[in-house]
């Protein structure tokens, strides 16, 4: 840690922690938090939910993906103070009665992981991706963005999941796991 400059000390004096309420996996957490704390650090260091992973911390890898009101979000580029009152779902919120949910089970069945570091982000991203697909969202792989129906081809799946890197290269298994869990029909 370098010593803080006068300028930084002056800034610190007016930037006090603010009380916020983060609603995570259905439970409210009342936190005193500095505005500079990312949602990722709030989850891991303040609420001690360490399932969400810090990969690049600059929005390039997708390991920190969580769901905010159902929309997949990079928690590393989000300031926690912006998410007061938003319903946040992390990987810890998916299991029911101690049993993994369908997508978690499918990742195991289909070898959708090796080291597992990107997996929480992959799974949250896939859930958000399916929400988008079912709502009719086109992608860069969609031949005609004005068409009403889109089929979830392998090319579409890869494009829609491109924000999540897997350095082990489990992409084939990840696609298979998503298909096993969601049986995607063409959207309407």
């Amino acid at each position: 840690m370098h010593s803080s400059t006068l300028e930084e000390q002056a800034a610190d004096s007016v930037c006090q922690s603010a009380p916020i309420t983060l609603r995570i996996n259905g439970i409210e957490h009342h936190l005193e938090i500095e505005p500079r704390v990312s949602l990722l650090d709030a989850l891991r260091e303040y609420v001690h939910l360490t399932g969400t992973k810090k990969g690049c911390n600059q929005g390039a890898c997708g390991a920190c993906t969580v769901l905010c009101d159902g929309a997949r979000t990079l928690s590393c580029l989000a300031l926690a103070v912006q998410f007061d009152g938003v319903e946040i779902t992390t990987i810890e919120g998916l299991a029911r009665a101690g049993e993994p949910d369908e997508l978690q089970s499918a990742f195991i069945d289909q070898d959708g992981l090796q080291c597992g570091y990107c997996t929480p982000g992959q799974i949250c991203s896939a859930i958000g991706m399916m929400n988008e697909f079912r709502a009719g969202m086109p992608s860069a792989a969609t031949p005609d963005v004005s068409a009403e129906t889109v089929e979830l081809t392998d090319e579409e799946l890869s494009e829609r999941m491109s924000g999540n890197l897997c350095r082990c290269g489990a992409y084939v298994g990840i696609r298979a796991a998503i298909r096993q869990a969601f049986h995607p029909e063409p959207n309407k």
Binding site: Q58, G59, L77, L79, A140, E159
Partner: protein, 331 residues
Amino acid sequence: MRNFAYSRASSAGEAVNLSSASSHAKFLGGGTNLVDLMRENIERPDTVIDVTRIAPSAIRETENGGVSIGAEVRNSAVAGHPLIRQRYPVLAQAILFGASGQIRNMATVGGNIMQRTRCYYFYDEASRCNKRQPGAGCDALHGFNRIHAVLGTSDQCIATHPSDMCVALAALEAKVCVTGPHGERIIAFEEFHLLPGATPNIETQLAPNELITSVELPPMAFARRSLYRKVRDRASYAFALVSVAAALDVDNGHIRRGRIALGGVGTKPWRAHEAERILTGAQAGIETYRRAAEAEMAHAVGYRDNTFKIELARRVLVEVLSELAEKEVRP
């Protein structure tokens, strides 16, 4: 990251007032660029004003038959909106070719327009950069400049504007509506971003404490025949080396007019007036498209590692125009 004061504005007027009351405020949208720049110490605001919850103007049809998009609307909401997908497919595509699903869910329209360059030297505090520190010099000019601009450059800066969405907005002749301490005004999209010239640190027309409130797309019936093509180093989730946004008004092999902008090659989203001039009133066909591409890139200047972009831009433009002229368009 240095600390800062955070406040959430409930209206554009309140945001402007909060900004005016501090010495170095920044408006915060989705944070996908600003939070990263703050973490890297490139942006050092004392106050951050969250403008994502100001009264939503959303996406609506305007009286003249165009479409208005609120500045706080998320990029994915624009790309998924039926009005945009049907009437301005080039804009839906441009957004979908940018970043990732997560980032498009977070990024706002205003924030996308205001994003900073991804020039490595701009991001690296140990390098010289006139954009970051006026008068310091530019390490990109003689450095590794494969991703840099070939149009609109100066001897002070060759950084590209990184947005895909803005390339489509330039082609569609959008208008940027802003509000500030002295009231509201409307800026033509083409004039919003500035060439670097001798002051690459000044990137837009925005005055201090002015906030983008919405973007207006004019009615453009022929924009149903439009598309975005992006060439990059990997198939997805990468910035453009070259991109083309184009709309073509063509009838029986005769081109009435075209609207074209280029990305990845310019220091700002590059409206291709030279190419448009060649197309107006010309016969549709590959010779016309080649002449248009030649005219647009005639003044391009390549640097050590990016000269390939000049020929690449010509070829992509010819390809896009050929495809557009043949495209089946639903009424």
